[in-house]
Structure formats: C-alpha cells, structure tokens
C-alpha cells in the first residue's frame, strides 16, 4: 500500500502545482481596456491619440497635397519622375480605381481617427475626474470627429456614419446620406464649441489642441459647403468680432516655423521634431525641392546639386498667372529657379553658405515656397531623417474665414460687407481694394480669384472648384464622378453590396 500512497501523493502534488490560473497569462507591459479609462491621465492619452490620427501620411499630409493641389489646376505632381507616386497622377487624371491603395489609405486613416474619437466619447464620460477638463477632452474629440467626417464627405460623399463602438455583429452598415453626415458634423461642432477654450484662454503649451474658434471656423466651412450662407455669415462674423485673430503684416512669415500658431492661425496639424518620439511628418520632405545648389559666401564656386526633398506639388504657370502684378504673395507661394532661399552657417567649419534654388527636376520649374524650410531648420541638419520634420499644416487661417465671410455675404447680396472682407485680405498683400483685372468685374469672380491666390498650395483649391461647381474647368474632369473618390473596393466586398459604389466607378 505504501507504493500507492506515494503515487497518490505525487498526483496530488501535480494537481496542486497546476492551479487554475496557470493558464491565465496576462499580457506583459501593456494594459487592457478594463484597466484603462479610469483617470484624467488616461483621458488625456485617449484624446492625444485622436490627434495622432491626423499625423499619418495618408490622413492629411500626402492626401491634402495630392487632392487639394495636385488634382487641381494649381500644381503638377512633380517627384523624381512620372512614375513616382503615380497614384497622385491618377487622381489628377480622374483615373483612380476603387482598389487603389491610396483611396483605401485615406478612407481607413480618417475612420481610424473616428474610431479613436468614438472610444473616447464611449469611455471618457464615465471617468471620475475634473468635470471641466473632461468636457474639454470630449469637446476636442467631437471637434476631431467632425474634422474627419468633413474630409470624408467632401471626398467620398455620404459615408457610413459611425459614432459609437459597434458590436462585431453590427459591422455591416450602409452609407448614410450626405445630409445625415453633414448633420452629424454640425451637431458635433455645436456640442464642442461651448466645451472648448477660446484661443486667448488656451495656454501656449496646448497649441495644437482644438479651440472654440477652430470649431466655429470648421462649422463655417461646413455651412459654406452646404451653401447655408446665412448661418455661415453669422458664425464667421462671430469669429471676426471676437478679435481673437488678425491678419499678420508679413504674409511670408505665416509659413515659417516661427510663424506657426501666429495670430492668424485658427487650426493647425501640429508636427515637431522631438527625437526619439515620432511626432513629425513628411509634409516638408514631400514638397521640398529635390535639389539645391549651395554657394559659399564670398565665392562663386557652386557645388553640384545637394539632394534635399521629394519635390512634389509643383505650382503651375496657370497659378502664377493668376497673381496680379505687385501681389506680394507670389514670392511667398512659389520658388523659381536660382532664387536665393536662405543663408546658413556650417557650425563645424564656420563657413557661410547661400542655398540657391535648383529647380531643374520640377516639371514646371517651380516648387512650393509655403512648404520650404531653411537648411538649418531641416531635420537632416540636426541628425534626423527628413521624414520627421516639424512643419505644420495650416489647416484653417483667419484669411480663409474672412474670405468665407465675404463669399457668404456676396451670396446673400450683401456686397458691401463682402467687399470689406476682400479689402482686408488684399490690402495685406499690398494690393488695391478690388482687382484691377476686368475679368474680376464680378464680385463672385473676385472672391474666387482671391481665394485661389491667398490660399494657393494650402490644399483648398480642388474642393473649392468642386463645391462651386467649377470642376469642369479641370482638363480631365469627369462629370459622372463629380469630383468624388471611389469607395474602397474592400468595403463593397465585405458588406456584400450593402455599401454602394459612387457613380462612374
């Protein structure tokens, strides 16, 4: 019997050794949802990741350049050769297909941002924390959700409207109508406005976060796109009368790193070079000329071209011709071959160099000046790849709101107010109150002209043409597609036809 006792003891030990939680392996070094969303720090992380969604290359950085400018008459694609990012050319030629990956990436990134906002609005309200901060955070998420939906609707039309966390069984959703999406955007912004601080209330360290005025400005834009002129006019007037913003004197300074979040800036996508954190973008690298020449000061010796950026978004002759003589904005918009761009000192040798434009690789002979960053401020110069640069996207400027105000007034027949707005923008550029060109005798044309030159290469042009029914002026315009992108093919396949493709694809 002794033997059996031994066996019994052994097996008892085995059983005891393998207690129930032996098979419960908690993930290491990572929280699960149940342990998160419990304090203010978590809420802050939740909202920060919503902002991060706007940082991905194909959320705004590449897409705004590709659609806003390259697809319009303001810019040619550029790059190293015609096949470099030829998807951008397909966009311009209205040849993009539903299975093209950039169609998918833009859509997926915007929805990734919406998902992060939805999680926040689902979880953060239950967190026990400072109520004002919590409301602000929720307000920021609603602003961002509206921003993401705004970009979806103007690029794809009515899209699936998701504002909560869905159960996997409910994943298949039809497309909402454009009206439903616009209504959701308006609702989110109206709810965000009271929860957000004004620009003056916002500490500098919070720059980059949404303000109440940013929400209002986006709402103005939302009204304009829906041709709700009266509401647009009233809300734009509210922003103007708040005196939070003013046009800065030096137009070119807006587009320098020092000009970020200047008095004129209402909302920017904020990037920074902060190694080891990846919080920069390729916004600068994408548009920076492919090469420069550098000349040592006091010599005539030119080295061969110095490789720099990727050289996309090359302004067209057509855009340059749009500028009136004496418009100070032209030199701040495009660089021309052999322009002196900056002077800098090599810190090791102490020698001074001038950076000269070498635009041979540009299909138009020009590059964007608005995206230009001087040598010593470029991340390569400080040991970082150009892909992690800090140049911000100026998403909404005061001049944009002024011109929207003017447009809304004009559409309501209030021409004096419209001319007032036009005068503000033009005088800053060193121009007379109204265009001298007889082509712009019409106030509408004058406002459209002003939008084009004021906001050139800031990624508004394509959608401005489409929303004002002038898309047909683009050479490859397809009236059936009507300026919309195709819905990604994957959505149609997975939903087994519940999601319907846009016309023309």
């Amino acid at each position: 019997m002794k033997k059996y006792t031994i066996i019994a003891i052994i097996f008892a030990l085995i059983m005891a050794g393998c207690s129930k939680d032996f098979l419960d392996k908690e993930p290491q070094g990572v929280l699960s949802t149940e342990g998160f969303y419990i304090n203010a720090e978590n809420a802050m992380q939740a909202v920060n990741c919503c902002y991060d969604a706007s940082r991905d290359a194909w959320t705004f950085v590449f897409t705004l350049v590709a659609m806003g400018d390259i697809a319009s008459d303001d810019a040619e694609k550029g790059g190293s050769n015609p096949s470099d990012f030829f998807e951008m050319q397909l966009l311009k030629d209205f040849q993009i297909t539903p299975s093209n990956w950039i169609v998918r990436a833009f859509w997926a990134n915007l929805y990734s941002g919406i998902y992060r906002c939805n999680i926040l609005t689902d979880r953060v309200p239950d967190i026990d924390m400072d109520a004002a901060l919590r409301d602000r955070i929720i307000g920021e998420a609603k602003f961002l959700r509206a921003l993401f939906y705004f970009h979806l609707i103007r690029s794809y039309g009515g899209v699936p409207l998701i504002t909560e966390i869905l159960d996997p069984d409910d994943f298949v959703q039809p497309r909402a109508t454009a009206g439903e999406v616009w209504a959701q955007i308006e609702q989110d912004l109206l709810e965000a406005i009271p929860a957000l601080p004004s620009r003056l209330e916002q500490p500098v360290s919070d720059y980059g976060r949404a303000t109440s005025s940013a929400a209002k400005a986006l709402l103005v834009k939302t009204y304009i796109y829906q041709k709700k002129w009266q509401q647009a006019k009233d809300l734009a007037k509210e922003i103007i009368d708040s005196y939070e913003y003013a046009l800065v004197d030096d137009f070119a300074s807006i587009f320098t790193l020092e000009g970020e979040f200047c008095e004129e800036s209402i909302f920017e996508i904020n990037f920074a070079t902060l190694p080891p954190y990846n919080v920069g973008s390729q916004y600068m690298e994408l548009q920076l000329p492919r090469m420069f020449k550098k000349i040592e000061v006091g010599t005539t010796d030119t080295t061969a071209g110095v490789w720099a950026g990727w050289g996309f978004n090359c302004p067209t002759e057509d855009l340059v011709n749009e500028f009136e003589p004496g418009d100070m904005r032209l030199s701040a918009t495009a660089t021309f071959d052999k322009d002196s761009l900056c002077t800098y000192t090599n810190e090791e040798t102490g020698k001074q160099y001038i950076e000269i434009a070498d635009n041979r690789m540009s299909p138009t002979g020009m590059y964007s000046k608005k995206a230009y960053v001087p040598t010593n401020q470029r991340p390569q110069a400080i040991g970082q790849g150009g892909g992690n640069a800090g140049s911000n996207i100026r998403l909404i400027r005061y001049a944009d709101v002024l011109l929207f105000y003017g447009e809304a007034c004009m559409e309501q027949g209030e021409n004096a107010e419209a001319r007032w707005a036009l005068k503000q923008v033009r005088n800053r550029a060193g121009l007379s109150d109204y265009p001298t060109d007889p082509d712009y005798a019409d106030l509408r044309e004058a406002i459209y002209h002003e939008r084009r030159v004021e906001l050139a290469l800031e990624h508004h042009r394509y959608w401005d043409l489409v929303r004002t029914d002038r898309g047909f002026t683009l050479p490859a315009w397809d009236p059936v597609k009507n300026g919309l992108l195709p819905i990604p093919q994957l959505e149609i396949d997975i939903s087994q036809g519940v999601i319907v493709q846009n016309p023309g694809y």
């Binding site: 990741c49 941002g113 997975i494």
Partner: protein
C-alpha cells in the same frame, strides 16, 4: 518514504548505490555467418530492467537471480535470441543476421512500440542514416529520407534555418512540426548536434500524433539522443574537414556587353548614349562582381564522444565543434555543443537519469532575401566596367549606375554578430511499481539567450555611398521554458493472446520571454572596442518587452492487440492553453486506429513471396496553437500614438494610446481532422519492404486576420475562419541484403500531395502576398492551392507598330520590342482583370532515393532528392532583365532588336513604360529538379590492421554534397522555400547553396 524523495528530487549529479546480485553469467556473442564477435549486443534478463551490452570483443557479463531467468540477446540487424540461463555460468551465443527492421522499437510519444505492431503512420530515420552523410543540422538529414516529409533549405547562408513540412501545408500560418527531444517539446532544434542523435521518429498521421493534441496538426518529430550502453568505455573521435564553393553562378554581361546594351537602352529611351561606351569592344571583360564577393569556404566538424557504463550506470558524454564559413565573404556560423546523457539504476526498480545539451552558436550574416535583394543581387547588378578598386586604392564607383560597389557593402555594412546560448535538458525518474506498471516523471528546461549586435561605421566613398553618422545596437532576447511530464504505463499479456498497454499522464509547460534592445548614434570612433551602446552620444533608443504562454495537458492511450493479428490504438488528449480566451482554453483531441496483419491469419497461405501483409486505418483530431499574436482575445491598450503640442521650438510630446484591435474572445486552435489508410508489405522473407499510405487532412478554423470593414476604424484580430484540405499518397520501399561480403540496402520514397484552400472566412477575401519590389506575386484564393502565382500571361514580343495597334491597349508608350500580354477578358485593354493564376510553387511530386553498398570495408552511399511539378517565381530577374539601371543577364544579349526579332526577351530600355516587368509568366520558371544531394565513399580498416595502430576502428571517408543538380531553373538554385506559407517559391536573389567536398575520419579508441 525514501523512494518518494527519489521521485521528487531531479538532480544532474548522480549518486551510485549498489545492490548485490546472486550470480554472474558471462559469454561471447558471435555472428552466425562468419563467427566474428559482435560488440554492442543488448543482453537483458527478460521481464526485468537488468541488462548489459557486449563489449568490443563481443563478451558480456550479467547478473541473474535464478536458473529460470531468460536472457534476451538483441542487436540491430540480427534475429533476437532468448536462452534460459539454466545452471551454466558461461553462455556463448551466435546471432544470425536478420533482413528486416520490424523488431526495432519505434518511439511513439510517451512510449515505444514494435514497428511491426504500429497502427499509425510513422517514419523513422536511424543514426546510421544521419551519420552517413554528415550535415550541420538534423533537419537536413531528414530530407528525402521519409515519405511525406518535405524539408527545404531556406538559404545557403551558414546556420540558415530549414522548412519542414509534414504531409502538406495545413495552414497559411506556421506549419512547422512539433519537435520533441527525449520526450520534451522544444521550440526549435538548431541547438542539436546531429552527431548526438540516435534516432528520429516522425509521427505523420492523426492517429499517431493526436497524443500531442493541440500541437500535433503539423506532425511531430520525436528525436532520441544517444545513450550509453553497459560495457567497456569507448572513445570515439569523428571529424570532417571540407571546402565549399559556389557552383552555379548566374552569368552576367561583361563590360563590353554591358556598355553595348546600356547605350542601346539609352537610345531606346531617347536619351543620349554615353560617349565612353561608344567603343564598347575596347572595354573587354571588366569586373565579374560575383567573383569579388565569393570565396572557397572551409568548414570543419570535430566530435569527441565518451560512452560506456556498467550494470548500474551508463553514460554518453560528447563535445562537438562545428565551424563553417560562408561562400559569400563575411558570413560564418560556429557552434559548440556539450552533451551529457546518463542513466543510473537504483535498486531493481528505479531508474534516474538526465539528458543535457549546452550549445553556443556564433554567427555573422550578410543581408539576403528581402524585397530589395541582398549582397549577391548587388554583385549581379553592379556595373562591370568599373574596377573593384582604382589604381590609388579607392573603391571603384560607377558613373552611370546608382549601384553600390559590393565591396563597400562587405567592408562597411556587415558588422554584425549573433550569439545564441542554449541549455536544453531534462531529468527523469522511472519507477517500476510492479512488474507491469511503470511510472515516469521528467522535468525539462529550455533556456535560450540570443544576442545580436550591430555596428554601422562612418565611411565616405562618394556623396552617395557614405555614412555620416555611425550607430550601434544590441538586441538581447531571453527565453525560459520548463516542462513537467508525468505518466504511467501498464502493459500485460492476458491469456497469451490479449496484449494490452495502457498509458495515462499529464504535462505542464510554460514559456516566458523577454527582449531588451538599445541603440545609439555618434560613437566617437569606429574601433571595435568602442562598439558599445554606452559609447554612443546621441539618439538613444531602447525597448523592453516580454510575454509568455502556458499549456496544461492530460492524455491517455490504449493499445490492444489480439493474437498478433488485430491491433487497436486509441488515444485522447485534453489541452488547455493560455493562448486562447476563457471561452476556448480547453480542447479535446481523440484518435482511433486499427491494423490487421493478414499474413498472420490461418487462411494466409504459407509462401515465400508475400511474407507479411498489414492493413492500417486511422482517424484523429489535431490542433495547431501557433497564433499570430498571443493576446488577440483581449482588448489591449497600445501606446505610441503620440502628438506634439505647443509652439515651435518649444513643443512637447503628448502621449496617446488606445485599443487598436477589435478583440476576439472566441479564438481557439486550428483544428485538423485527418484520416489515414495504409498498407505494409513484406516480400521475400521481409527482405523487401514497402509501405503505402493515403491520407486526407482537413484543416478547419484556420486562424486568419479576416478583414473587417475599414470604416470600423480598428484592426481585426485573428479569427478561426479558413479551411484547407490536403490529400495525398506516399510510398516507401526498401530492399536490404545484409549477408555475404556484398551487402546493400536501397530505399526509395515519394509523395504526392494536393492542396486546396476551401474557405477564407466571411467575404472570402483572397490574400495577396509575395512582395517583389512593391508588387504582389502570389494569391491565396478559395478553390486553389495556397500561394499561387498570379499575374499576366506573356504572349510574346511586339514585332512592329501594326501588331501593337491590333492588340489590346497596354500603354500609350508601348513600342516594338515590348512584351505582349494576353487580353483575357477581350475588352481591348490590358488591366487588372487580365490577371490569372500562372503557376504553383508547390511540388506535385517529391522523391528521395538512398542506396548504400558495403564491400570488404568499403562503403558507398548515394542519396538523390528531387521535386517536380512546381514553378519558381524568378524575382531577381526583375532587375537582371529589366529596369535599365543595372547590369543584365547574359541571356539578354538575345534581346529583341529590329534585326533580331526575338519572341522571348524584350528590348533593353531605361525605364519601363509598357510595364514589361509586371508580374507575368515571363518570370515563372519550371522549378523541378533532381539533385545528387550526397555521395559518400568510405573505407574501414580491417580489424587486425587497426589494432596494430592501437585503434578499435578506423574509417575514412569522402563526401560530396550537391554534386549535381538537374534542373531547367536559370537561377543559382531551384531549392527556393519562400519566406512563409503565403509566399512560397519566390527567388529574391537568395544566398546560393554551396557545393561541398568533405574528408572525414571516424575513430574508435
């Protein structure tokens, strides 16, 4: 209570204790055919654990307790003999040689069984097979030796891994088999020295491998390492030294040919020709860049083994050094192994032992096989008009191509080292509770530490080929796995006819791992003594992650046979795994199999032709627990979604995180249901044996990342969605003649497998993979085998403008000399809808042939291996036949020109407006090959002669590996595994496999 301590105390150090025996019997064992003594014969007292082995002179000495004891003499290749002790103290025995291996014991997992009694499908590879053709990794020794087991070398890089596939590709995920070494499952066997391996048994069908339950779906490879045998201590010294060479270089254009083609390509693209290339003939041969990076590489292996023991303790202790340089400069792999296997008997009923291996490997790799190619590709593409070095000693640099001089790469970008230290071992105790019941408990550990270091120095060759900022990194990983296995076995023969064996047990296994990574830039100097992370001054990066898994299992098996005619095996395993959510942690894996030995029936006519006939059939359920990520069942908060706030230049990081995946709490293992039907036939007194098996393996619940709508905004988790079906036929036959002076055995096996994907989850989205320069080359689609090449069909070359105008539109810039692609849908445009399946990388047929001959001390072994019916996507030809910014393959001299209206090779061109380089049949080549994998010629000195030089045995041999390969494939080597089950058979310019010549010695002292 003393015995209880034996059970629980698992120690490496053994203690001796002796019990007096009643009586000693001695004798000599000889070969019945020629009277020579046979060393190494097993002698045991039947029904006990008492046993010994004859020494080198064939003599033995064993303790018996009574005159009724029966001594059993057995030795591989000889008929077993049983002799009742009686009163004599000296028992001399002569054994007659046997022609079958049917008496051999096969390791079946938690036990052994006679080969003749198997009901499932198990292949075995013996140590003789392994040692006859020396290889550095055990998997190589299995190639072509067992039907249904496909082994593919992933690369010629020293120390490279191998792919092992047993009975088809059961899943698009990891389909590696489970490796079990001395009863303990291990994650990989790269630590094993093949010289230490005694036998390999491969469980192929479900009824055999279901005892390994949730990890048995891809088959189980059971490895037994060499154990000591009682007898006089012997010392073996085995070594070989060899030379490896690159034997099938890809022929590239020489300098004058390149210059001619390059200028032609420029003119075709409306670019001015290069003036220096106008007189191309004067440029001559130029540089053969492949010659610049390759070398004749040495390799060496040394092994010293001490083995022996007495009635109580046996030991086998070995040390091994393996060193191999690569045929591409700057690559090597060295491995050092120590193994200690001992067994110790305490009293009559208790055995205690351990098997431990300590391995350290050091490797340096040159980069290979990614989508942008590696260093061989670089050498193929480099401008041949450039000298390796200029007269003033600088690196030659091309003025026309962007290609880097490969010597720059070799000298500055291969500073890396991988050091792996691994300790794998187990201790076991086995107690015979009473005669028929045994209990065994073993505890195993597997500790692995992997260290990678890399350094990227500052150098300057030209403004393009330079590195301004040096950097250094260290990447350490630590794996700790333990296993505890306990099982009891009861065996008894009832009434002389009913043979019953019952096994039941449990096991627990747990792994934890952690990685630590650090890197910095700007190290003050490039000197080796400064290549440490702390020496760097900027850009510090670090990371540290960890995770783990556990498995708890209960299992049992019943083996029953009646009268040596009817055999039944049934097993059951219940596995609980931490890899799955609470809902699906546990799974049950049953199996059932039958065998019928017709030849033992009374009605079977006595004859000398068919002496053995057995039918087998079995069914079982298996699992595969290789999950893509460990915690997809939970919703995890992933950090790193950060954003900058504040104004330039004072921005600060705001940290962000969120659950990026939709969790799937229902994840469970992939399940495989497998059915096997087989027949074993023995002819001419079992001199000629054959085995044939037909099997069906249905995989369900295959883990897939089934896409969810993008508008959900989150990443999908894996879900159990796909299905794959494999069915096949395998055949093995062997003819042995082990008598007389001319002895030989000849074995042949082949396997036919059909694979089909039957489900890919909701929506059935096909999976594109196999990126070659940004283009997917394979598609896995329902109704097709996995990973089929997918693209356009090349119809020929456009000869003139008229032909272009009459064909579907390909591009506005298509010109004569461009490739004509087939317009499948007839819509007059070549687009995505004209893509079709253009070939399968999966061989329809794989085979191995192995023959060994012995004649008066001479042994000759030849081993052939081949596959057929598969295609290879020759990805590197994307560069070597196109692009225009690289050198061309010599075959492009036959390009299309107006004077040479080729229909095979397009015109040369800078750029590719017609997209001649698209994925098409142009790059799909026949991947069939047959290879003389090894050829070995050995000679063993006659005993008398070796004794004169004080050696027991001396054998010298010569081996050639990869001596000849018969193939139509144009690349380095047709053995192309691809990098995963979704992208098989893609050649991205791999590290070529060497041809090797070895000289070896086996000495027994």
């Amino acid at each position: 209570m003393k015995k209880k301590i034996y059970f629980l105390c698992f120690m490496l150090i053994l203690c001796l204790s002796a019990y007096p025996q009643e009586r000693i019997v001695t004798g000599i064992v000889t070969d019945a055919s020629d009277g020579s003594t046979i060393p190494g014969v097993n002698v045991i007292v039947k029904g006990t654990l008492t046993g010994t082995v004859t020494d080198v002179g064939g003599s033995y000495r064993i303790a018996v307790s009574s005159n009724e004891d029966i001594l059993v003499f057995s030795y591989i290749g000889y008929e077993k003999q049983e002799i009742v002790v009686g009163i004599s103290d000296v028992i001399n025995v002569s054994l007659s040689s046997k022609v079958t291996s049917l008496e051999e014991l096969v390791v079946i997992g938690y036990g052994v069984q006679k080969r003749d009694d198997l009901t499932g499908s198990i292949s075995s590879v013996s140590s003789e097979d392994i040692r006859r053709a020396p290889v550095p990794r055990l998997e190589q020794a299995l190639q072509g030796k067992a039907a249904g087991v496909v082994v593919t070398q992933t690369s010629g890089q020293p120390g490279a891994k191998l792919r092992v596939n047993i009975r088809g590709i059961t899943t698009i995920n990891n389909s590696d088999p489970l490796f079990v070494v001395d009863g303990i499952p291990v994650s990989s066997i790269d630590y094993l020295n093949p010289g230490d391996v005694e036998s390999v048994d491969i469980l192929k069908d479900a009824s055999a491998s279901a005892i390994y339950g949730a990890r048995g779906a891809n088959g189980v490879i059971l490895i037994t390492t060499r154990k000591g045998k009682p007898g006089k201590a012997t010392v073996n010294f085995d070594m070989y030294y060899g030379w490896q060479e690159l034997y099938n270089p890809i022929e590239m254009c020489n300098a004058s040919e390149f210059a001619m083609l390059y200028n032609e390509a420029r003119v075709n693209a409306n670019k001015p020709p290069i003036p220096e290339f106008e007189d191309f003939q004067s440029l001559g041969e130029g540089t053969n860049w492949l010659d610049q990076i390759k070398m004749i590489a040495p390799m060496a292996n040394y092994q010293l083994t001490f083995t022996g023991g007495d009635d109580f303790t046996t030991y086998n202790i070995s040390g091994n050094i393996y060193q191999q340089d690569g045929i591409i400069k700057n690559s090597y792999y060295d491995r050092y192994t120590i193994r200690i296997n001992t067994e110790h008997k305490i009293g009559k009923r208790f055995i205690l032992g351990e098997n431990v291996a300590i391995t350290r490997s050091v490797a340096r790799h040159v980069p290979f096989g990614n989508i942008y190619g590696g260093i061989t590709l670089n050498a193929l593409l480099m401008d041949p008009t450039v000298p390796p070095r200029t007269e003033d000693g600088n690196y030659g640099v091309s003025d026309v191509l962007q290609q880097e001089n490969p010597l720059i790469w070799l000298d500055h970008r291969t500073e890396n080292k991988n050091v792996t230290t691994r300790i794998v071992g187990n201790c076991f105790g086995e107690y015979q509770i009473f005669e028929d019941l045994k209990f065994r408990s073993s505890a195993g550990i597997d500790l692995a530490n992997n260290q990678n270091k890399g350094f990227y120095p500052i150098y300057f060759v030209t403004p393009t080929f330079k590195n301004d900022i040096n950097s250094v990194y260290r990447d350490w990983a630590y794996y700790n796995t333990w296993t505890w296995e306990n099982y009891a076995t009861y065996s008894h023969v009832f009434a002389g006819k009913h043979d019953l064996s019952v096994m039941a047990g449990m096991s627990a296994q747990e792994q934890k791992y952690e990685t630590l990574y650090g890197a910095r830039k700007n190290i003050p100097s490039n000197d080796p003594f400064m290549q440490y992370v702390s020496a760097g001054t900027t850009d510090q990066e670090s990371s540290n992650i960890g995770d783990g898994w556990s498995l708890l299992s209960y299992y049992g098996r019943v083996i029953y046979s009646f009268n040596n005619r009817y055999f039944v095996t049934s097993s059951f395993r219940r596995d609980g795994s931490s890899r799955f959510g609470a809902e699906n942690k546990w799974g049950n894996f049953p199996s059932f199999s039958l065998a019928w030995k017709l030849s033992n029936e009374k009605f079977w006519p006595e004859n000398k032709i068919v002496t053995r006939l057995k039918l087998r059939g079995g069914w079982g359920m298996l699992g595969n627990d290789h999950v893509l990520r460990l915690h997809d069942y939970a919703s995890l908060i992933i950090p790193g979604f950060n954003y900058a706030f504040g104004q330039y230049p004072n921005e600060a990081v705001g940290f962000g995180s969120y659950p990026i995946r939709v969790p799937n709490p229902y994840i469970k293992w992939e399940s495989v249901k497998s059915t096997n039907l087989g027949v074993d036939i023995g002819l001419f007194n079992d001199r000629w044996n054959m085995t044939a098996d037909y099997f069906i393996k249905n995989t369900d619940d295959m883990l897939l990342e089934v896409p969810i709508p993008l508008y959900i905004g989150a990443q999908p988790s894996v879900s159990n969605a796909g299905s794959v079906k494999n069915q096949g036929f395998e055949f093995w036959t062997e003819y042995r003649r082990y008598e007389g002076t001319f002895q030989y055995n000849i074995a042949l096996n082949f396997t036919i497998i059909n694979n089909e994907v039957t489900d890919l989850g909701k929506g059935g989205e096909s999976i594109a993979a196999g990126d070659v320069k940004g283009r997917f080359t394979t598609l896995t689609e329902i109704g097709q085998p996995v990973s089929q090449f997918y693209g356009w069909i090349m119809e020929g070359i456009f000869q003139d403008e008229e032909e272009i105008a009459n064909h579907a539109l390909q591009s506005n810039k298509t010109a004569p000399g461009d490739i004509k692609f087939k317009d499948i849908d007839g819509n007059d445009t070549i687009n995505d809808k004209d893509k079709v399946f253009i070939g399968s990388p999966i061989p329809k047929f794989t085979y191995g042939f192995n023959a060994t001959f012995f004649y008066k001390g001479i042994d000759l072994n030849i081993f052939l291996y081949g596959v057929s019916g598969n295609k290879i996507y020759n990805g590197y030809r994307f560069w070597t036949e196109g692009w225009g910014e690289t050198n061309w393959e010599k075959s492009m001299l036959d390009r299309w020109t107006p004077e040479n209206p080729s229909n095979e090779k397009p015109r040369v061109l800078i750029g590719d407006p017609n997209d001649n380089l698209r994925v098409s049949t142009r790059f799909v080549e026949n991947g069939s090959y047959m290879r003389i994998r090894t050829l070995t010629l050995g000679y063993t000195l006659p005993e008398g002669l070796s004794k004169k030089i004080l050696l027991k045995r001396l054998r010298i041999y010569f081996t050639a590996q990869n001596l000849l390969t018969f193939t139509e494939y144009s690349g380095f080597d047709p053995e192309i595994p691809g990098s995963g089950n979704l992208e098989l058979g893609i050649d991205r310019g791999e590290y070529p496999q060497p041809r090797t010549y070895l000289l070896g010695l086996n000495i027994t002292f």
